[in-house]
């Protein structure tokens, strides 16, 4: 061990004689290790982000909405524009694995309190709405079956409404006029941590019973009384979302009288499938970038080998002298090899630092996180050491097989 340290010390002191050259030699290794480390951190960061998303309610959500655009080519009277109905929602709710199915209607409305007014949206909801949207009550009560049955003029409000319309007052029990129709506020919904994908304020909403909303705000439908504009279906954590989606498809086709061969007039949007596809793309990109980093590391190794060969031929006389007065072939071999290893060691350390400092660069957006872990660090560092051994061997062997007598004559 002591001998090992002495050898490394000698190698280090010989490298420090040419600080600039040593640095430039290991630059390739620095860049290689740094990029492998940083790329793996980026990959790990984004895959963790995806995992978090994949476990949330929103990724287990499938949204059904109407897609009349797909009927292009049909004449307008071929089939009436048929809305979804409450029985669709009830059938979805009965599919095994579904934990919530919620139908809704909605409108942009003007909301007026006694002191202020505000443009917001009103959504008519059923009892599954909060669960289907990963929302919880902050205060008050939720909307229940009685409200739905009696078409009660009660409302839940989001944080933004509570703040803008009721500043210092307690909104619960207060009256809110939605498009001039008075509702009684019975509950406040907690702030949602979900980012609204349209960039809208996720807390700016008024919720009312579906039946009331249909009756008083959005108006009826000329064909059906229990119409619904869109449906959200949430699967359980272990549910097979693809199977649920297939069953939903069957239910809708039957309920809407669509043949298996016909183009449906609705669309089921499955967020999980979207995420899986994104995950795959990201994985491919990570593998690609890691491969580039590895190539860089390899090129760095060749650079180390090249400079070590130059340094060996530059020191031919010194090596000859060492062999003449003292050193064995193995001493010379170990000396040159350890110089290469020391170069790659420092290259590796600096590379890890460089890779780590990448996360402090200003161009990462909020949705980009770098997660550094020990494993990729060890991987990147280990491969730099391996490169040192592999690419140090040729120059070391070259030096060790020098003949001292001939090495001396070398000018």
């Amino acid at each position: 061990m002591r001998r090992f340290l002495t050898t490394l010390g000698l190698a280090f002191s010989s490298l420090i004689e040419h600080p600039m050259r040593s640095f430039l030699t290991s630059l390739g290794v620095i860049i290689g290790v740094g990029s492998v480390f940083a790329v793996l951190a980026i990959g790990e960061g984004s895959s963790r982000q995806l995992m978090e998303q994949a476990n949330s309610v929103s990724t287990r959500t499938m949204t059904v909405y109407q897609d009349w655009g797909r009927q292009s080519g049909r004449s307008s009277q071929a089939r009436p524009r048929k809305p979804f109905v409450e029985s669709d929602v009830e059938e979805f709710r009965a599919i095994p694995g579904v934990i919530a199915a919620s139908g809704q209607v909605g409108r942009n409305v003007s909301a007026v309190s006694e002191t202020a007014d505000w443009n917001s949206t009103l959504t008519g909801i059923d009892t599954d709405y909060l669960a289907a949207n990963d929302l919880t009550m902050q205060r008050g009560r939720a909307i229940n079956y009685v409200d739905l049955d009696q078409r009660a003029t009660v409302a839940l409000i989001g944080q933004t409404i509570a703040r803008t319309l009721y500043r210092d007052q307690d909104p619960i029990g207060q009256r809110i006029k939605v498009n001039n129709i008075p509702f009684e506020i019975v509950g406040i919904v907690n702030s949602s941590d979900q980012q609204n994908w349209r960039g809208q304020d996720p807390d700016d909403f008024i919720l009312a019973p579906l039946t009331t909303a249909r009756n008083r705000i959005t108006g009826g439908n000329q064909y059906v009384s229990s119409h619904i504009e869109s449906i959200k279906v949430v699967g359980g954590p272990d549910a097979n979302l693809q199977r649920i989606q297939a069953e939903m498809d069957i239910i809708l086709k039957r309920s809407r009288g669509i043949n298996a061969t016909e183009t449906p007039d609705y669309r089921i949007f499955n967020f999980a499938a979207n995420i899986a596809a994104r995950g795959k793309t990201q994985q491919t990109i990570t593998i690609l970038l890691t491969a580039i980093g590895a190539i860089c590391l390899l090129v760095g190794g060749v650079g180390v080998m090249n400079i070590m060969l130059v340094s060996v031929s530059e020191r031919t006389r010194e090596i000859g002298l060492r062999m003449a007065i003292c050193a064995k072939k193995s001493d010379i071999l170990i000396q040159i090899l350890s110089e290469a290893i020391v170069l790659c060691f420092f290259g590796g350390v600096l590379g890890l630092l460089a890779g780590y400092s990448v996360s402090y660069l200003p161009f990462w957006g909020d949705d980009m996180t770098l997660v550094y872990a020990a494993q990729p660090a060890l991987l990147a560092f280990g491969s730099s050491m391996l490169i040192g051994v592999v690419f140090g061997f040729l120059p070391a062997y070259h030096a060790a097989k020098l003949n001292p007598v001939e090495a001396f004559r070398h000018e």
Binding site: C326, K328, S330, V405, F408
Partner: protein, 232 residues
């Protein structure tokens, strides 16, 4: 007379230069006594450098045997040979061959750095050797800060560091002016008086005059072997 410390028997070395063979040493037999001061002279190409390489264990003869301190050089592997050189022979070269970026002290420790087990007190030993050659106060100078004669003294100190039995000097004054050469040869004489065997290879008769015995080579053969009358 004591046993010879170096003994060559029918030593022949042939170098192949393309299709022609060069017979650098031709059936040379030679004994060198312990604590002797021998000069080997001859013009260039006479075979004296080849002999030096054989005696130093740097090269292997084509045929014949070399015994140094009773050890048959033929039987040693290259690493055993390196070890043997390290412990038995000190080398001094015409061009000094110092490591230019290391201090004089570090240069002198060089043979000790390769000792196994680790040689304790390397720096102290090196300082002692520098004192012996009269450079005790220059131990932290780099070779480039020293004169030629001082550099050769450092090289001699380095050769002494491993406490060798034999000092092999190849044209030790070849790169020095005549006054400095005298100093170096006097130093060698002093060392010889302390009991170390010295072999100097040279083409300079004046240098050879410091030796007790002068062996002259020509065309790979010994043509003269004169022993100086030792003043009693």
């Amino acid at each position: 007379m004591s046993n010879p410390i170096i003994s060559c028997r029918n030593l022949t070395k042939i170098y192949k230069m393309g299709s022609t063979e060069v017979r650098a040493l031709d059936d040379v037999s030679l004994d060198i006594e312990e604590a002797d001061f021998v000069a080997i002279i001859g013009s260039s190409g006479s075979g004296k450098s080849s002999l030096m390489n054989m005696l130093g264990g740097l090269d292997k003869p084509t045929s014949g045997d070399v015994f140094i301190a009773g050890q048959d050089m033929r039987g040693l592997s290259s690493s055993a040979l390196a070890r043997f050189r390290n412990e038995t022979i000190g080398f001094i070269f015409q061009q000094f061959q110092l490591l230019t970026k290391k201090s004089a002290l570090k240069n002198v420790t060089l043979p000790l750095q390769y000792r196994r087990p680790r040689y304790a007190g390397q720096l102290e030993r090196a300082q002692v050797c520098l004192d012996m050659v009269g450079l005790g106060d220059r131990s932290h100078h780099k070779p480039t800060e020293l004169s030629g004669g001082q550099q050769q003294r450092v090289a001699i100190a380095r050769a002494l560091a491993g406490e060798p039995k034999v000092l092999l000097a190849d044209e030790p004054t070849g790169a020095l002016d005549s006054k400095t050469s005298v100093d170096i040869m006097r130093l060698m004489q002093e060392l010889n008086r302390d009991g170390i065997t010295i072999i100097v290879i040279t083409h300079d008769e004046e240098v050879a005059a410091y030796a007790n015995r002068v062996i002259e080579f020509r065309d790979g053969k010994i043509i003269a072997d004169k022993r100086k009358e030792v003043a009693a």
